[in-house]
Amino acid sequence: MHEMSLAEGMLQLVEDGARQHSASAVKAVWLEVGALSHVEVDALRFCFDAVTRGTVAHGARLEIVATPGAAWCMPCGERVALARLGDACPRCAGHQLQVVEGEDLRVREIEIA
């Protein structure tokens, strides 16, 4: 996964938000990371620190809000928990699973000064 591109995307959203609210600094960013999203959190932190250097979000704290994955199991006709891609349905042990939640990577909130 390309965490650098994602970190740049995050910085852009944060800068947009800061500008919109006439903020002078961004102190913290809350990022929702789905269990099935395409991201390595440690790598993302590293890249976030790198891309925010010298920006309005310089030194901002990155708060990760982990959200669980979920899938629709076709044979069970039910929504089930899915911790990672490739795991079996906890009910029927099958793999006829359609991911319905947990792929998000979303900036929820920022704390500004």
Partner: protein
């Protein structure tokens, strides 16, 4: 740099031309509401006009190198509250590595938003952060130590911008009745040979055009051009995947005709390309039998994102321990709906099914354009395919 895969963001080149730096850097003046004037020197990829009068959302990867000499009208002491009544004049030359959202990849004269909303922060040695006053509030008094913060909702996806550009690409494909595929695999799976053989086998029945993604060299585009098909090479520099903006810029060059087949060969990488929608109808994963048959479960994101898996180099099966059914089983664990075809680009084995699948896709795209159907969703239903 991506610490997962060891790659990093580099200078993107499209057919050898630097995408972010071309032509003479030109300077603009930005006039802020408070009268501050900035002279920026920008270096742009293509010769395009920026109309800064409009409101538009300009992505700016924006690394201000700010050599920033500001003249404060008065000497001030940072240990106490002070008046930052800036009449400051900074001539900051910065290199915008900008990507912009073009509403239509063909038209460069448009809306992007250079909202340098006065939000530059001046770092002070004593660590008190003193920001420029917002427009209309000139001469604001800062009191260090008073740290009023508040939380504001953003609720936006990190891939918002990529996905918006991908949607533009997808609309272009839909309007022209083009069937576009994003070919993803590890390096060495035989993507370029597959493309060359596919173009030869189509024999001009369907116009095929190629966007080649590699970190460097135009060797692959040259191999494609040798078949007579137009190809544009995108060099990602240190980048490890294609993004929608690179494809939009390549499409500017390629100008694919109506009813054509656009094949986008992504950078050989089983990880990074998974998350980036380029505007394609389908991601097609290629897994060659000289690789491990458990790759789909070791790199689930990529196979999860694909609608079709081509098991390539099947002519080598007698010489390797690759379990085709096992590989298909792993792939269906992460993507139950994935279609599978066994092929050999070298011998042409399995090509009838592959070419028929491509022709159906093109036919469908043409029909949709003819009836004026709007751009499909990111993932279309997969055209009927032969089950392996």
């Amino acid at each position: 740099m991506c610490v997962t895969c060891g790659c990093g963001e580099g200078e993107v080149r499209i057919d050898g031309a630097t995408a972010t730096v071309a032509g003479a850097p030109h300077a603009h003046l930005h006039r802020h509401a408070d009268g501050t004037v900035h002279a920026h020197s920008h270096e742009h990829g293509d010769a395009h006009d920026h109309d800064h009068g409009d409101a538009h959302g300009h992505g700016h990867g924006h690394s201000h190198g700010h050599g920033h000499s500001h003249d404060h009208g008065q000497s001030h002491d940072h240990a106490q509250s002070h008046d930052h009544g800036h009449p400051h004049d900074h001539a900051h030359p910065h290199d915008h590595a900008h990507r912009h959202d073009h509403a239509d990849p063909r038209d460069h004269v448009q809306r992007h938003d250079h909202a340098h909303g006065n939000d530059h922060v001046h770092p002070h040695p004593d660590d008190a952060t003193i920001a420029a006053a917002p427009a209309g509030a000139l001469g604001a008094v800062h009191a260090p130590g008073v740290d009023a913060t508040r939380r504001v909702q953003i609720e936006r996806d990190l891939l918002t911008k990529n996905d918006a550009i991908a949607a533009v690409n997808r609309r272009l494909f839909a309007a022209r009745g083009i069937f576009a595929l994003n070919l993803v695999s590890s390096p060495g799976s035989g993507k370029t040979t597959l493309l060359v053989k596919t173009i030869e086998a189509l024999g001009g029945r369907i116009p095929a055009l190629v966007i080649e993604g590699d970190q460097q060299t135009s060797r692959d585009a040259e191999r494609i051009r040798a078949t007579g098909a137009p190809a544009v090479q995108v060099n990602t520099g240190k980048g490890c995947h294609l993004d929608a903006d690179m494809v939009a810029r390549a499409l500017d060059r390629l100008d694919p005709p109506s009813g054509s087949l656009v094949l986008i060969e992504n950078v050989g990488n089983l990880v990074c390309p998974a998350a980036f929608d380029l505007g394609e109808a389908h991601k097609v994963a290629i897994l060659s039998v000289t690789e491990g048959d458990d790759k789909p479960i070791k790199y689930p994101d990529l196979f999860h994102a694909a609608d079709l898996m081509l098991v390539n180099k099947v002519d080598l099966l007698p010489h390797v321990d690759f379990d085709v059914d096992g590989a298909i089983g792993w792939a269906r664990r992460v993507q139950p709906g994935i279609g599978v075809m066994r092929i050999s680009a070298r011998t042409g084995e399995g090509f009838d099914a592959w070419l028929a699948w491509l022709e159906r896709g093109v036919e469908r795209a043409r029909t949709r354009a003819a009836v004026g159907a709007s751009a499909p969703d990111a993932r279309e239903p997969v055209p009927e395919h032969g089950h392996a």
